[in-house]
């Protein structure tokens, strides 16, 4: 179409920005094309066994199934809210599988796929969204910190934790997750400065899913996000966030460099949130259906499946087995979520402090006494 042609399509007001088209992204690291073709990248070689490839596929499918079940459970009133990861499975599984056991991940509130790779029970994550606790998993033993809702706050925690690893002489690193919107936060910039200044073993993993709720990426930045790293004095890499192999390779390399004392890396995983920001959101108000259709062609799971089939790494039995696993997980999530009961009401008092102050103890006792008056009532 020419610039003069009459059209009803929305015209991008900023040349080069606007709808996030994947073509013309020369800096994008890719190892598996949307068609499922394995390609090489000069800087990021990746050796994965057939077993690992099948494992990654299984992760992707199960994480998506978890996500779709959770969305359904929210619609049925079993969850107060759900933040869907649909479309971001490869970014999360690839990054999560790059972590070593002793590394520590610092998620936002959407990293269910990373939680999965860290062995966090999905029901612990769902209990947060059901409102029965504030995150029931153990961050220390899982190496997966609690979710952080305040945007960007965790990037500083990851940096401080990495500084602790550095002091301990541990050959470990932290992986700080953030979104494209978070890059606008002052605290994220402070984290980048700290990490750079102290050469902290932290990798910043930014999932650029193109929208901060409704605000598109051009409302956050006039330059590609990965280029910002240069201003802080460390490498920035843009990876195809829908390519689990590329994400795995790039994150693995960045974590290895961090553990090796080479300081931080900023990874921009270029991806797309296929669903709503959360179940409270209506993305049809701020983005076009055509954009969604375009990204569907880059589905992170379809390309792995195509690759596995074509290369003969997996057969129909394998795929059927993964589907059966997904069905079993879905059933466990459905029944398990409905059984997640709130803890004892007195828990609201019990962990506020390591040493409970007398006034809080008094309020707790008053609470117990007050509620004891109603015991047996209505029976």
């Amino acid at each position: 179409m020419t610039a003069l042609s009459h059209t009803t399509e929305v015209v991008d007001p900023v040349p080069g920005a606007g709808a996030p088209h994947l073509p013309d992204q020369p800096d994008l690291v890719q190892l598996l094309t949307p068609e499922g073709e394995r390609v090489e990248h000069p800087d990021y070689a990746l050796d994965v066994t057939a077993e690992e490839l099948r494992g990654l596929y299984r992760d992707l499918v199960l994480v998506r199934r978890w996500d779709s079940e959770a969305t359904a459970l929210q619609r049925q009133g079993e969850l107060g809210l759900w933040a869907s990861l649909l479309g971001q499975e490869a970014a999360q599984v690839g990054a999560g599988r790059a972590l070593a056991a002793d590394d520590m991940a610092f998620p936002t509130y959407r990293e269910h796929g990373v939680a999965w790779t860290r062995g966090v029970d999905p029901l612990h994550v769902l209990s947060l969204f059901r409102g029965v606790d504030q995150g029931g998993w153990d961050p220390v033993t899982t190496g997966f910190n609690l979710y952080t809702v305040v945007i960007g706050a965790q990037t500083l925690h990851a940096t401080g934790y990495a500084m602790g690893m550095q002091r301990d002489g541990a050959e470990s690193a932290t992986l700080a997750f953030l979104g494209d919107g978070a890059t606008s936060q002052g605290e994220v910039n402070e984290a980048l400065i700290w990490a750079s200044t102290f050469a902290a073993p932290v990798v910043f993993f930014c999932q650029n899913n193109q929208y901060a709720i409704s605000a598109p990426i051009e409302r956050q930045s006039r330059v590609p996000l990965f280029q910002r790293a240069a201003g802080f004095g460390f490498p920035g890499v843009r990876v195809d966030g829908n390519d689990v192999l590329a994400v795995l390779a790039v994150t693995r390399a960045a974590l290895a460099a961090a553990r090796d004392g080479q300081g931080p890396t900023f990874i921009e995983a270029f991806t797309y949130r296929m669903g709503a920001h959360t179940t409270s959101d209506d993305p049809t108000r701020y983005r076009l259906a055509s954009e969604l259709e375009e990204w569907k062609l880059r589905d992170p799971i379809a390309r792995v499946k195509a690759h596995l089939s074509r290369s003969g790494i997996a057969d129909a039995d394998f795929f059927a087995g993964v589907e059966a696993d997904a069905d079993a997980l879905a059933e466990r999530i459905r029944s398990g979520t409905r059984e997640l009961a709130p803890p004892a009401p007195t828990e609201i008092f019990d962990h506020v402090y390591a040493e409970m102050p007398p006034e809080l103890a008094r309020q707790r006792a008053e609470f117990v006494e007050y509620h004891s008056r109603f015991e047996g009532a209505g029976q």
């Binding site: 706050a153 932290t174 002052g186 040493e355 007398p358």
Partner: protein
């Protein structure tokens, strides 16, 4: 061994001892290394403990607190210095949404033994944002504990107790009293950290103060004594949790209570104390609990700060009003 020390030097010695006692203690802040801090509280510590234990940070308060959270998760005990009270606000997000909440959210799995040292209050002729009293914000936040020292002995022991404590503590240092001297028993048993203390006995009116206002309250008591009035002065010392049992005991005897602080009056700590004293000691009170505080204005230019800050005359005026009921 007893020594005469300023509050500033007592803090310095206390921090030194805390660092000797626990290798996990890390000091973090702006200009605290080679300079020793703008008030020299950390003087000489970087020289003796190294740059990893006394960290000169980039100039960003949220960064200081946010990385302290990560260090605490990793088993360290960060002691953060905020250069002046008015500069804590960029860090308030981390303090309120993270430091205060993570112990509860993690059911105790993530310890937050963080101390935030803040030189607070006015009276030093500074420019704006250097003379504020932000304690109310922190007292109102569950998950934090707040301490305000007023003497060299409490400075020396209090900072060590705060550093060793498992919960996050906002540690308020009365900056205009940094150079006041007092006796410190360096080996004796310290007073409990979360306890108020009667610092002068009296029978007619109970006067409560903390931080820089303790000295003002004592001066008022001295002046009142010359007029034959006996004021009992209580140093609150701990603002969260409040320790009001000694106050209730005092008020039951005196029947009158005046609360003094520099922070603006509305919803200041005095309001909370007045409510609690009234709830608890209602039948003993001969007069309403009165408050003397800063005004509900931004802290004024320094040429007017004497008009803003409670002084002994304003305390004595409140005492007169209490006795007039």
């Amino acid at each position: 061994m007893t020594e005469t020390l300023t509050i500033g030097k007592a803090l310095n010695l206390g921090l030194r001892r805390a660092m000797e006692d626990d290798a996990k203690v890390v000091l973090m802040g702006e200009d605290i290394g080679r300079l020793g801090g703008v008030f020299r509280i950390t003087d000489g510590l970087q020289k003796d403990f190294g740059e990893d234990r006394v960290v000169d940070t980039p100039l960003a308060e949220a960064g200081i607190l946010g990385t302290a959270v990560g260090l605490a998760m990793r088993g360290y005990r960060p002691v953060c210095e905020i250069q002046f009270d008015g500069f804590v606000f960029p860090a308030v997000n981390q303090i309120v949404t993270q430091v205060a909440k993570l112990h509860a959210r993690s059911k105790g799995r993530l310890p937050m033994p963080i101390v935030v040292r803040i030189p607070f209050g006015g009276g030093i002729g500074a420019v704006e944002h250097h003379s504020e009293s932000p304690e109310g914000y922190f007292v109102h936040t569950a998950g934090l504990k707040v301490v305000a020292i007023s003497s060299p002995a409490d400075a020396y022991w209090g900072i060590q107790q705060a550093v060793a404590h498992p919960d996050p503590i906002i540690f308020l240092e009365p900056k205009r009293r940094y150079w006041d001297k007092g006796e410190v028993d360096l080996d004796g048993a310290p007073a409990p950290l979360f306890a108020s203390r009667v610092v002068r006995g009296g029978d007619d009116v109970t006067v409560l103060a903390y931080g820089p206002m303790v000295k003002t309250a004592l001066q008022a008591a001295e002046a009142a004594a010359e007029e034959g009035r006996s004021l009992e002065v209580v140093d609150l010392r701990t603002l969260s949790p409040l320790d009001l049992e000694p106050v209730y005991a005092s008020v039951r005897r005196t029947g009158r209570c005046v609360v003094v602080h520099e922070a603006p009056l509305t919803l200041g700590l005095g309001a909370e104390i007045a409510a609690r004293v009234t709830e608890t000691c209602f039948h003993s009170l001969e007069a309403p609990v009165l408050r003397v505080g800063g005004y509900d204005t931004p802290y004024p230019p320094s040429k007017l700060e004497e008009d803003y800050l409670p002084d002994l005359d304003r305390v004595l005026d409140a005492v007169d009003r209490a006795l007039g009921f």
